[in-house]
Symmetry: C3
Subunit: 400 residues, 3 copies
């Protein structure tokens, strides 16, 4: 339950990171999205659960919907779910799953920020959270086919199931939306669009790190204290290594120690360790985090080069480092070896195809039906005025 509270606070972390790393003229819009996403995540999960109780749908099995989605979560007489073979109650599991599902949608939010239509994005999020995430999740956490491979695919707390899933959705959205106006000039230059508040971004990253204690630590809640505390240490060491290595990488590649790179490096380390946080040694965690920190810097530069405009670096952090963390289990994990690595690659590929196609098709349908992108006038003026008729900082003189 404490872990659920910590995972909840991650949504404040996402809200502050994303608003901090974007322009002040879009801040209300980003905060609105990030406030509504956990609300929608909670309600979507609850409403789907309640559907089960209507006659004609599933009379005898109150967990029908979850099974339909492949989750197979059932509760024994004491209300303890089978999904975790520990002392979680059904309700704690519900809070966890809802928060995880909302996380996947939040990742998309950051990448499509500053030009996506609010209504379209909220419809996308609802369907993504209600359909795509649980179907994909069931393959592993619902004891689906990936969990039944000879060497089962392993993803402790969601490098692939949460972060890559969100990352593929983000990539699909950015590809269909195109870059923000003025980001890539006609003569091939990349114009940086700076975030409007580095303190907000820093607050967000620290809150995410804190939340990750719940994310990773909570996944072994009933296990012995030794394992939980080891998980917190591997999580922290990977984050620390990611922050330091990304800062060093920024000195090498950007000539200056860059705060936003260091912050994204911490997130990269956290995403990277998530798949194997329970089975890595302390030194291995440092290697995984350090590699993730370099990867995220290179990835941000690479996506800018190919004109994939991701304002907050969400694709680099969650997709690239999510894949890295998943593969790292096959390289450094308890059962490291070719068999495990092949299983991890299988999982990565399966999630890539399913999630990317799902998100791409869904965004495409919504683009035709509702429109995906705000008008150039609105984008230039800011989505806060256009979508909300309001501004985030009315008492300060803006300098767009």
């Amino acid at each position: 339950m404490i872990a659920a509270a910590l995972v909840f606070i991650m949504h404040l972390g996402f809200a502050t990171v994303e608003s901090g790393l974007t322009q002040s003229k879009n801040t209300v819009n980003i905060l609105f999205k990030n406030t509504l996403i956990p609300c929608i995540g909670l309600l979507t999960y609850a409403l789907c659960g309640f559907n089960l109780m209507y006659p004609g749908f599933a009379d005898e099995d109150p967990q029908f919907w979850f099974k339909f989605a492949g989750f197979g979560i059932t509760t024994d007489e004491a209300g303890v779910t089978s999904a975790y073979n520990v002392g979680y109650t059904y309700w704690t599991d519900f809070l966890f799953q809802a928060m995880f599902a909302a996380t996947a949608a939040t990742i998309v939010s950051g990448a499509v920020a500053e030009r996506v239509k609010l209504g379209t994005f909220l419809v996308f999020s609802t369907i993504f959270v209600a359909v795509c995430y649980p179907i994909a999740g069931s393959w592993k956490w619902g004891n689906g086919w990936l969990n039944r491979l000879d060497t089962p695919f392993y993803d402790f707390a969601g490098s692939t199931l949460v972060h890559s899933v969100g990352g593929w959705g983000a990539l699909a959205g950015v590809m269909l939306l195109g870059p923000r106006m003025g980001k890539y000039t006609s003569d091939g230059k990349i114009k940086p669009i700076l975030g409007h508040s580095m303190p907000l971004a820093t607050i967000g990253v620290f809150l995410l790190w804190l939340g990750w204690f719940g994310f990773n630590g909570g996944s072994v809640l009933s296990a012995d204290p030794g394992l939980v505390s080891l998980t917190l240490v591997t999580t922290s060491l990977a984050a620390a290594a990611g922050g330091v290595s990304a800062a060093l990488a920024s000195v090498i590649f950007l000539k200056k120690p860059d705060l936003s790179m260091a912050l994204n490096g911490i997130l990269a380390g956290l995403v990277g360790i998530t798949a194997g946080a329970d089975q890595m040694a302390a030194d291995t965690s440092i290697y995984i985090g350090a590699i993730a920190g370099v990867l995220v810097v290179l990835s941000v530069l690479f996506f800018d080069k190919i004109k994939i405009d991701d304002p907050v670096g969400a694709i680099s952090v969650h997709l690239v480092c999510g894949i890295w963390g998943t593969l790292a289990v096959g390289i450094f994990g308890a059962k490291a070896g070719t068999a495990q690595l092949m299983s991890q690659l299988t999982g990565v590929a399966a999630y890539a195809v399913f999630t990317f196609v799902f998100a791409f098709v869904l965004f495409l349908i919504l683009k035709i039906v509702m429109g995906l992108r705000v008008s150039p006038e609105e984008e230039s003026e800011g989505l806060d005025i256009g979508e909300h008729g309001n501004v985030a900082y009315p008492n300060f003189i803006a300098n767009h």
Copy 2:
């Protein structure tokens, strides 16, 4: 104890919500009040406790003062209070009560912001926390008359005892203070005065939501994990439903999805579920929260119409939705029915009369003795300069 830490963080939530939703020229003043209120709450409770030890006051009963105030909290040999029939120590109970009492004063703070004199408000808060809150609270939590009705009045974690009490104090203060200059023009128009930082307000609401996990979850701390986790789920679902319904209501009534309404909707849902968080089903929680979310939007519009100027919407959130949540126990609760509803109405009415009259008379006396409102010059220039000789953001050019 974890719950006490979470409830503590609510005071940071209040500080950031209130400063975010008001003008930057009054930010230092609001932060100062919200920083001192929990300090005063803690000390007031402690000093009252220590008074007991002085001879001639109560030699034999170290808990005398609490009894005087009607609380009737006593400890058995093991130091466990009788107020909660669970494993709370006296000290944990003290921290909880002090934090709850300070919450009632903080609610008033938001409504009277941007024109109340600092000294007057701090004197009001101290007396309100030390006298009004514990007397009123004793009627229910001290096993007073409301708890001894045939069908006892029910308020699980303070929809009435904390939130309405604060709300009535806020209403009394606003009525005696009058609206901020320029808010209602002579030709009958309502001029919106926007908050200066939506990120601060958003941070505040998320922290309050987190704190509510402690507020509601902590009130069943020793119960079975199932009940605590159910409470967290009902709390979260009501918050989520309040946020979504207030956002939808803002689209209907204000034509745009309004972030501050969505944020207040979340708080409305939280206040609404507080009275019955331990006995609502998941679907009922959603209904209660959704109705609270609509109520808060209508209430904000209504109070603006009758020129009750409440800068942060505290009366709408805490008083209106506190009453709604209390009545909801009679409508949807475990013992729903006419008898329970009548008890709830009795409680609501009793708290209305006592708290409003107490706060009104106290504010009136202070108005005569100390003055209630700053000068028009100070209000125009900002209370930061007038009361504190300082500004919150000296490095930015203001745009009042």
Copy 3:
């Protein structure tokens, strides 16, 4: 483990306090330092631990390095450390120690802010965390000589071992750096340089208070709930008393209720109670906190008088109140008396000499080798541009 999460969040508290109390042109620099310090703290501790496993260094004792540093932490077969005679695992202890060590470096960070070279400070921090802190800490927590005095030196959670150690480092740094340009004019005037965001500073202080629940509460984790909750109460009452007394002192000495003084008063109370949080009565905690709150105001004024320029008041909070708290154990503690007071004075003096000399010499060497202070041009323009090529708030017009 929960306590470790709370202590972790203190680093966000330090980051926001320090950036809030300094100028916006140096915000990126301060956030960068405060983000990297906990990362470096974690890695330094981990790397030192791993060094032990290399042959030729210590074949048989995997805890060698800690012993070399005097800590003497060893684990029994179950992985439980001897440093705490409680249910802490080695890993939890590691997280705690790393966070504590990083705290000492963070204290220095605030005092030397706005003019220290980034690289120099990071090298200082790494060595300070890796060498000075553990050697000094071993004297007490590693069962060293101070713990073996006839009346052992007592420091429950680090008034001296963490806060004074950081404070002496801060004093050494400020003495070698000199004041910020323009702070003390040639005609003997003191020009206040205001912090750029009071909400950030307030957020920081509340987070530090929250973190202190973990800091102090966590140090008795396995003890009975009564003792832990007493510790939280003494901690909270001292903080509250410090905030109120510093606010009152600011009215007396500065003529206005000053928010930054009230905030520093809370921190002063927290630092003051830390040495004896487990053995003070509730009333004594209030006295200790109230005295700390007055001390911090007088100390800030005093250091300004002697031209020791400490932008955030770190020396006053952590060093002065750390000493006060340590002595308070000899005055008010369970074994109060001349013997205990002499032991406390011995400890204070020993840490003063060792830490100040260590930090002074280290800073002096770095000053010669790397340079300590940025150029006047860079200081005037801001370290954000100079060190990072970036600014914290590109969308607002600055008013330096």
